[in-house]
Symmetry: C2
């Protein structure tokens, strides 16, 4: 049997996902958008969001063209193969497209969700959740489309040979780099946009003038709502496209190398296709999960939460079982490794659940840690900040230990519980780690739906507020948003955990790419070992990639620094843009007569412009650093230095990302806890102190934190693509 | 010639340092302590500080006894040698003693400094600086005493043999562990104490009641001043004792292993003694520097600054030159490596200066970054926090790159510019890195004086305020304090840089200790290589300490997490203790009648008690974690995991430490910038916003940040001492 045909299953799953996405989109459009005012507001936000995205794509296109030309030149000098520049462009294009579709849907869905929420909580849930599902299915559909089509194209064009699958998979990694580059710009640009607007709106409107969230008198309101769409929706879409595609691509590459010398015919090909098949089955299971999310009319919060959890949990349990089936079918007749590799997925899923629960424990106001942060507001904003930072730092322990245990268990499971460090055990173990990451993300179709519907509900709330709908509508959309936060914690656990595992898998791909570059150039390893026959361990020896090599250590230092530097740049960017916004909002409140009485319209457009310019301006430096630093490190420190850089960036970046996300989440909910009536409730000094915390938390959890996951992988991808250059020229 | 005699030079330098310390102490005591009220206040602070230190030593003694018993048991099972428990105790004892003497001097000097400042700025400087010099000279004197006496004792008792010097130097490292343990408790306990009091005093007194710093009406004032002594003085003394001794001990151990197979007679011994000789010469040069610090009567700030810089710069330049002389004398007749190794010191000193300048740039209000943080107060406390965090994160770039370049250059210089990664080049290179660290700290006698006199001046200001001295006295002590901050930046640069280099050197010592353990047990390496003949690179191969080994990666993850976890624990500790303080101070202001009019005395003792209890309670967990985690990691993950842990902790901890120190420093000075009259000056909204920043910065720069340097080294020391256990039992 020609196993290549299996890739058509992946293509079919991709089309199925896209088809359902389109169907959900169309049925959402059929819903009533509500009153004229609601329509007008939604149109405003939609236009603002689209205008921004257009601007952003313009800037990003320039970066992509420059890089594609660079890759073309590299190919001309035999430092890369000729497919790279084009694969890179498609990855970027599809990642952007995923964000674009998601955002388009969200901006059409917000008013409709608000309108549905006028009837009942459940109707609101249905519209918001199905719209979130559009995003989830679009992301997985486009990613699998890209994977399957590229595989077919490369399989057709690349000549047969022992290296064929390795060449195919490492080339496909380049489209991962395109996706990561796009995702980083989307997260950073969108994150700066939304947080500048949010911080500006909150600091002046809420704190200084005591007007509620999303009040139409606040000049930054429209910008704030546009920001939710470009940051939380479009940014997240591009981000998760990158995570999802990245985990599949990295694991395909690992499969190609782990089974390169397998004596069993077709084994290598099956190992390469396995990750995309798991993802394809995941699409089906996600659809089942999505259809499980429904409740009876008049259902309360607990039932809604149960409905959502039922959907995601069912999908997760089924994918664990399905993986055993997939590997039994693929490997079962040839080896008994099938159930061992499948166990890795169980490990990955369990790790995701634990991280998700820990995230919930540390960031939800129903648990002690966040309540304590809230309580510290009794002694003012400074103690809120100190306790929130402390909480975030403490909260890194469980995720890191969990990921650590998962790495070792997934590794041991996949290589048949062999502790000995041999090339074969290592390759199989790494493949298991990759498979665990793929398993964690395979049900992204539904987990992303539970994540993406939060911002939609949030925007629906904004629409309700601005359109002057009754308070109960706002309460319902707030309830939906809060509900989303809880289920999203699990989704975040999977995203963070899989990012760490994928980044590990990419390290092996880097070595594989170094090998390909040496083979292409006809060079041997520095210690004389023939490149084509060299194992991962040979590379470690030849390039002295051990912890006593000062070059490795310096690389690790620089990697650790990169994580902080990147966050510092994005934090400062938000700070600067927010300051401009604050000044503008203050100016309008002071100079536009009747604005506070609702008699005069604020100048919304000016605020949109400030956020747009701020984001455009400030996103370039941090994003370009992520591309330039790995290149320079390679040129100066060589292979050992690059591996150090990647490990340093991965370890520090991972911990820093958890810290920032959880501190930010806890501050947000500590504020909500006060708003629920504790410590004096809304308008009290305690409330003001927690608003300071929430404001600091905004760039933590929505700009710097989530960008770190992408940064880590982008640095790996850049190193992989530049491997040929590093091998040819390096100073030390 | 018997080169062992050279150690008597070190002993002599030690006695010289202690003699001058005693002389400066006595002449300080002869100064007039001022009015009766000044004496009374000083006595209060002194008693509070001594009472706290007694309490702390009690707790720490228990920990030391438990650990010493553990080491005794390990020795009984041949997992360590029989000297370890005792060496450990002496290290802890001397480290504590250095802090104790420093604090005793500081508490006697504060009123005297205030009194001298009544005459002139210069008189104040003389008293404060000479008292700081007592601390500097005590630290170096006690450390060199410990080094030289232990060397003589072990040289006498340990039988001759090829391994003799390696056994001596690795045993001596254990006293480094004692010093680190004591230092961590001192920094963490003292840091929690001082910041709980400081935050409590500021938040209620300054912000809520608008009364000035150190006002006697504030119930937390005495606790605040006691805190400055136990945290900034005693904590810093123990800390730098540890850094100074640690760098010498680690480099001695590197010398023993780098020259173990040298064919030249006496070469190994000379290499072992070289670091302590550099330190001994450093004592002399520090004394010269200290005597250079004097100005004409009526000198202004610029001249005072020049006087201080003249002292430290002269000492630094002279030590660079002297190092060439020392190595020329020791190695000159046998090899031409003498000038190459000496160059490493120049590299280290330059790196220290660059880091110091960068610290100054990012944290002084005379430069743009801190001014911008200050300016962000116009939009409230949230933007002050965001911009301060952003600044701190950005500020990590220069120190990390500088240390990275210094590591590579010091390495290359010492091994004769050989890039090839051979065992011999590696050993020599690491020795050079250690020598660079020793060079950076060799003039600690004077650099610590410029650091320690800051808190003395600060306390003098407190005394002046409480004793109701004229405002100009307070202005003078403030000026002295500010002056100290500038010169201290360079000192901090040296301390941070040398900590990173020392920690690197300790990695090699860890391997050396593993080797000793294997030899003691008569075991070979896991790959069969005979332990006694194995090189560092053999160990890397045998234990698979490379970046593809998942165990190494998990170790790195846990190390990165440890840095954050530790900071989280200390931040939360400060937060909790400060909250209690705030509540107590508020209670006193509300319930004690006439307190605000100065008619009734506040209950100072209650606040002192809260800080004491908070510090006692909260210091145990983070400190014990630093000891337990490396042991558990060793038992579970083995040698490869421990090395990962140390590298992860070192890289993330180093960057995190720089971030926290610089954010904290910038917030402090951003507040001062407002107080100088910008953005509305004292009492304005901007001022209040910057006070929030300063309050958050307190635990950053004075509790968590400085403890990280010790944490990094303590984890290495613990691993070294526990190497025997790790080799015998480990799960993976």
């Amino acid at each position: 049997m020609d196993y290549t045909l299996l890739i058509y299953c992946v293509l079919a799953a991709s089309l199925l996902a896209l088809g359902f996405a389109f169907y959900f989109y169309k049925s959402m459009l059929k819903k009533d958008e509500g009153t004229d005012l609601m329509k007008k507001i939604a149109a405003h936000v939609r236009q603002g969001a689209m205008a921004y995205l257009k601007q952003q794509y313009k800037v990003v296109t320039i970066v992509f063209v420059v890089l594609a030309v660079l890759f073309g030149i590299m190919a001309a000098f035999d430092l890369q193969n000729g497919w790279v520049w084009f694969a890179f462009l498609t990855g970027g294009f599809f990642s952007g497209l995923a964000g674009f579709f998601g955002m388009k849907t969200a901006t059409y869905a917000s008013a409709r969700t608000a309108n549905a929420a006028r009837q009942s909580l459940n109707s609101g849930l249905q519209v918001a959740f199905r719209s979130g599902a559009v995003m989830g299915l679009t992301v997985v559909g486009l990613a699998l489309l890209d994977v399957s089509v590229w595989f077919l194209v490369l399989d057709y064009f690349i000549p047969e040979g022992a290296d064929k699958l390795i060449i195919i998979t490492t080339t496909m990694l380049t489209f991962g780099m395109g996706a990561s580059t796009q995702a980083l710009f989307a997260r950073v640009g969108g994150g700066i946009y939304t947080k500048a607007a949010d911080v500006g709106a909150d600091l002046v409107g809420k704190t200084e003038y005591n007007i509620p969230e999303d009040d139409p008198r606040n000049p930054a309101t429209i910008a704030d709502n546009v920001g939710d769409n470009v940051g939380d929706v479009a940014g997240m879409g591009a981000d998760l496209y990158e995570s999802y595609a990245g985990s599949i691509l990295a694991t395909m590459a690992l499969g190609a190398s782990a089974f390169a010398t397998s004596a069993i015919e077709g084994m290598q090909l099956k190992a390469v296709l396995a990750p995309s098949l798991i993802a394809a089955v995941g699409v089906l299971l996600s659809l089942i999960g999505i259809y499980l999310v429904k409740t009876k009319e008049g259902a309360g919060m607990t039932e809604l939460l149960k409905a959502l959890s039922r959907g995601t949990n069912t999908a997760a349990i089924l994918i664990a079982i399905a993986t055993f089936g997939i590997f039994a079918l693929l490997f079962g007749t040839d080896t008994n490794q099938w159930w061992q590799v499948s166990l890795s997925v169980v490990v990955g899923l369990l790790a995701g659940v634990i991280i998700g629960k820990a995230t919930e424990y540390y960031t939800s106001q129903t648990f002690r840690p966040t309540q304590k942060v809230s309580e510290s507001s009794k002694t003012g904003p400074a103690t809120v900040i100190i306790s929130g930072l402390g909480l975030g730092m403490l909260s890194t322990a469980i995720p890191v230990v969990t990921v650590g245990v998962a790495i070792i268990l997934a590794y041991l499971c996949a290589n048949g519980f062999h502790v000995e460090f041999t090339p074969a055990n290592l390759s199989m173990g790494l493949y298991g780690i990759g498979i665990a990451a793929v398993g964690m993300l395979s049900t992204l179709g539904i987990t992303l739906a539970t994540d993406a519907y939060g911002p939609i509900a949030d925007n629906a709330g904004g629409n309700a507020e601005m359109a002057g709908l009754p308070a109960e509508v706002r309460q319902r959309t707030d309830a939906l948003d809060a509900l989303g936060n809880t289920t999203a914690a699990t989704g975040k656990g999977f995203a963070i955990g899989s990012a760490a595992l994928t980044a590990l898998a990419l390290l092996a791909s880097y070595i594989e790419e170094i090998k390909m570059a040496l083979v292409r150039m006809g060079k041997a390893l520095p210690n004389g070992v023939e490149a084509a026959k060299a194992t991962l361990i040979d590379f470690m020896d030849a390039y002295n990639v051990n912890l006593m090599n000062p070059i490795v250590l310096v690389g690790i230092f620089i990697g650790a620094m990169m994580a902080f530097l990147f966050c510092g740049l994005t934090m400062n960017a938000v700070g600067r843009a927010a300051q401009k916004m604050v000044e503008e909002v203050r100016r309008q409140f002071e100079t536009i007569k009747g604005i506070l009485e609702g008699k005069a319209d604020p100048d919304y457009a000016r605020c949109v412009e400030i956020s747009t310019k701020g984001a455009q301006h400030e996103m370039l430096l941090p994003s370009l650093l992520a591309i330039i630093v790995p290149i320079v490190t390679g040129l100066v420190l060589g292979v050992a230095g690059v591996l150090g850089l990647l490990i340093g960036g991965l370890s520090t970046g991972f911990v820093l990302a958890v810290f920032m996300a959880n501190s930010g989440g806890a501050w947000d909910n500590a504020k909500k806890y006060v708003e629920e009536g504790h410590f004096g409730g809304k308008g009290s000094d305690c409330h003001k102190a927690t608003i300071v915390g929430d404001t600091v938390g905004d760039p933590f959890k929505d700009t710097a934190g989530p960008s770190l996951n992408i940064l880590i992988k982008l640095m790996s991808m850049v190193s992989i693509v530049m491997a040929g250059l590093t091998v040819s020229f390096h100073l030390l």
